[in-house]
């Protein structure tokens, strides 16, 4: 990081990617985690708790990566895009479970 000059804009965008991108990505991980583990037969609250535990560690990692990686755009794309994709998948899995009736 020493090679980068820290302008206010640089700091603001990195912070935004770390916080908002990290949050979006974590949301996706937790949502998809709950949907998949529940559909695999795990008790609902167990799926919820395990996803939270994993998700919070993911958030910490994502936050650090956003500050450690040079390519900020790429990180932003992966975090926000990945988060959206996983959330969409979670929605889809939820739809399948609800449609299955039972």
């Amino acid at each position: 990081m020493t090679s980068i000059t820290l302008t206010p804009r640089h700091i603001a965008s990195r912070t935004a990617v770390a916080i908002l991108g990290g949050y979006a990505f974590t949301w996706g991980v937790i949502a998809l985690g709950i949907a998949l583990m529940y559909s695999a037969g795990m008790e609902f609250h167990d799926a919820e708790h395990l996803s939270y535990i994993i998700g919070l560690l993911v958030f910490l990692t994502a936050f650090l990566v956003a500050f450690a990686t040079q390519a900020l755009r790429k990180v932003a794309l992966v975090l926000v895009g990945g988060g959206a994709l996983m959330s969409a998948l979670a929605w889809w899995v939820q739809g399948l479970i609800i449609a299955s009736g039972v």
């Binding site: 990081m1 529940y38 919820e48 958030f59 910490l60 650090l64 500050f67």
Partner: protein, 551 residues
């Protein structure tokens, strides 16, 4: 990473300071309650008779003005004068609680969302059934403890979010701190108190950060896990359909009705159900007391009674719940042994919430929490020491602003805490008409004295702008010493419970609080003396070489 560590650490260190300090006090929240409410200075009691003592109290309970004000915006039109349909009645106690907390929730007939409930809370003396006056604030469990996790900023849960983000930043600061140092083992044995203030502050920052590193990581992390449902309300937004499906299936599977039947029904003897639950626990080889009793769908044919065991002999919060049909007392369900994931979760959260009985471990928690506070405070000192001479030369006020904030948060917080306890002993038993309730007055005085400490901090840190040590530190240390000696004396005068008496009779909740404050007073005097010596020392300190990477 150094930049991240420094600036996020600075911005959120102020919040973390509050979280660590009040978290440490919360380890002994029930003991602080005893200090603050002398009428409750007696030994913890078993759960009293539900049928004879608690039912009549529950029937009389109604939400107070504060609960009504909170619920009013959630309803169409004005709230009814009284709430007639109780949804649940609950009673909760711990092995450190002489008094019993009762809470009742009611349906709000004109609520916009039919799930909305309004709550009524009371505290009862389980020996007599007498209610504690509503103006008594349990300063430990109802004020210091919420400060720890929400800063008592309840509007839109904003306090939870601030604390949660700070916890995430704590984890970040620990990871980046380790990356910055690497030679972690050496830090454990490095403290050079006689070098420059800057050098010894950095030593202490590293030492306190490393010595309790696993503790700090674990607590910041489990704190986030406990409130993850607030930070990521996924099962109440995106995955609501899945959550609702689970609830319906669960109630089918467990036989515990999800909704009211709409048919009125009497309540059978709850005491008999409690006795049966205790018999069943004993048969499993884990005889125990009741910690939590809950009636769901009160007065309805679908009503049921849940009896949970007080988990004081284990880390997990496992309750071994046993459920009975309220109308007949027939057994509905015995909670199955927890799954592996549930065990992990209960262990993680249980280790943070420490409901277990283990005094040595409790004290280690306090020390761990205070070492976290020390780590953050020394981080702030280091920030100021490193910059103040340069800022003084350049004529910028950055170091002074940070120093004033640090004084406010480090010593100012102690001034506020002690002032609140002193107010608790000095306010009249009942406030005169037109005044806020006694408990509310205590809170106002807490914030007011903190604000005064903040003003003093700003005023008396002017020296920092000239590159010198701020007198605010020493003065507030002296204030702490005076206040921390005053509170135990006032406790003696107003209740007669002086230290010889409380120690002699082995009443540790109050003796411990008094001794803790007196020890704090002694430390504050020591700190003030040291600060005076430092201030008297000449400024000419060689510019010490600091590790590369320390921004």
């Amino acid at each position: 990473m150094a930049w991240l560590h420094t600036w996020f650490g600075l911005a959120l260190g102020l919040v973390l300071m509050v979280v660590f300090f009040f978290g440490s006090l919360s380890v002994f929240d029930r003991e602080i309650d005893r200090w603050a409410i002398p009428d409750t200075r007696f030994e913890p009691q078993p759960m009293p008779s539900f049928d004879k003592m608690l039912t009549p109290i529950f029937k009389e309970m109604q939400p107070d003005a504060a609960a009504r004000a909170m619920t009013a915006p959630l309803a169409d039109g004005p709230l009814p004068a009284t709430f007639d349909t109780p949804r649940s009645w609950g009673a909760y106690t711990t092995h450190r609680d002489p008094v019993l907390a009762l809470f009742a929730s009611y349906e709000v007939p004109n609520a916009k969302d039919h799930e909305t409930a309004i709550w009524a809370l009371r505290t009862v003396d389980p020996r007599t059934g007498e209610l504690l006056p509503v103006d008594r604030l349990k300063i430990g469990s109802e004020f210091f403890y919420p400060l720890h996790y929400s800063l008592t900023l309840d509007w839109k849960n904003v306090g939870y979010w601030i604390v949660g983000f700070s916890a995430l930043m704590m984890l970040m600061a620990l990871v980046t701190g380790v990356i910055m140092h690497r030679k972690i083992f050496r830090e454990l044995f490095t403290f050079r108190p006689n070098k420059s203030t800057q050098r010894s502050m950095l030593d202490l920052h590293n030492l306190t950060g490393v010595v309790a590193l696993p503790f700090h990581f674990f607590f910041a992390f489990t704190g986030l896990v406990i409130f993850a449902y607030i930070y990521f309300p996924i099962t109440h937004t995106q995955l609501t359909p899945l959550h609702d499906r689970h609830e319906v299936l669960e109630s089918k599977e467990t036989g515990l009705p999800h909704d009211r039947a709409g048919v009125a029904a009497p309540i059978a003897s709850v005491d008999a159900m409690v006795a049966e639950a205790q018999r069943r626990w004993a048969a499993k080889g884990m005889a125990g007391d009741v910690g939590f009793l809950n009636l769901t769908h009160v007065g309805d044919a679908n009503g049921y009674v849940s009896v949970y065991r007080a988990g004081t002999d284990r880390v997990q919060l496992a309750g071994e719940g046993i459920h009975f049909k309220a109308a007949t007392g027939e057994l509905l369900r015995e909670d199955p042994p927890p799954t592996v994931v549930a065990r992990i979760n209960e262990f993680l959260t249980g280790l943070h919430l420490q409901h277990f009985k283990h005094w040595l471990l409790r004290w280690l928690y306090v020390l761990g929490g205070l070492s976290g506070a020390a780590c953050i405070a020394t981080g702030l000192f280091f920030f100021v020491e490193k910059r103040k001479r340069q800022h003084a030369r350049q004529g910028v006020s950055g170091a002074r602003v940070v120093d004033a904030l640090a004084v406010t948060v480090v010593t100012g917080m102690l001034v506020a805490t002690l002032s609140m306890l002193i107010a608790n002993r000095l306010l009249p038993d009942a406030m005169p008409a037109g005044w806020p309730l006694r408990g509310a007055m205590e809170k106002y005085l807490f914030w007011a004295s903190w604000a005064v400490a903040g003003v003093h901090a700003w005023w008396r840190t002017a020296a920092v702008a000239e590159g010198r040590l701020a007198p605010a530190w020493r003065e507030q240390c002296l204030a702490i010493a005076v206040l921390a000696m005053t509170a135990p004396v006032l406790n003696w005068i107003t209740t007669g419970d002086h230290l010889l008496h409380t120690i002699g009779s082995g009443y540790w909740p109050v003796a411990g609080a008094d001794l803790f404050m007196l020890a704090g007073a002694a430390l504050a005097v020591l700190a003030a003396r040291k600060l005076q010596q430092r201030a008297a020392r000449p400024l000419a300190v060689k510019n010490v070489t600091l590790e590369a990477g320390h921004a």
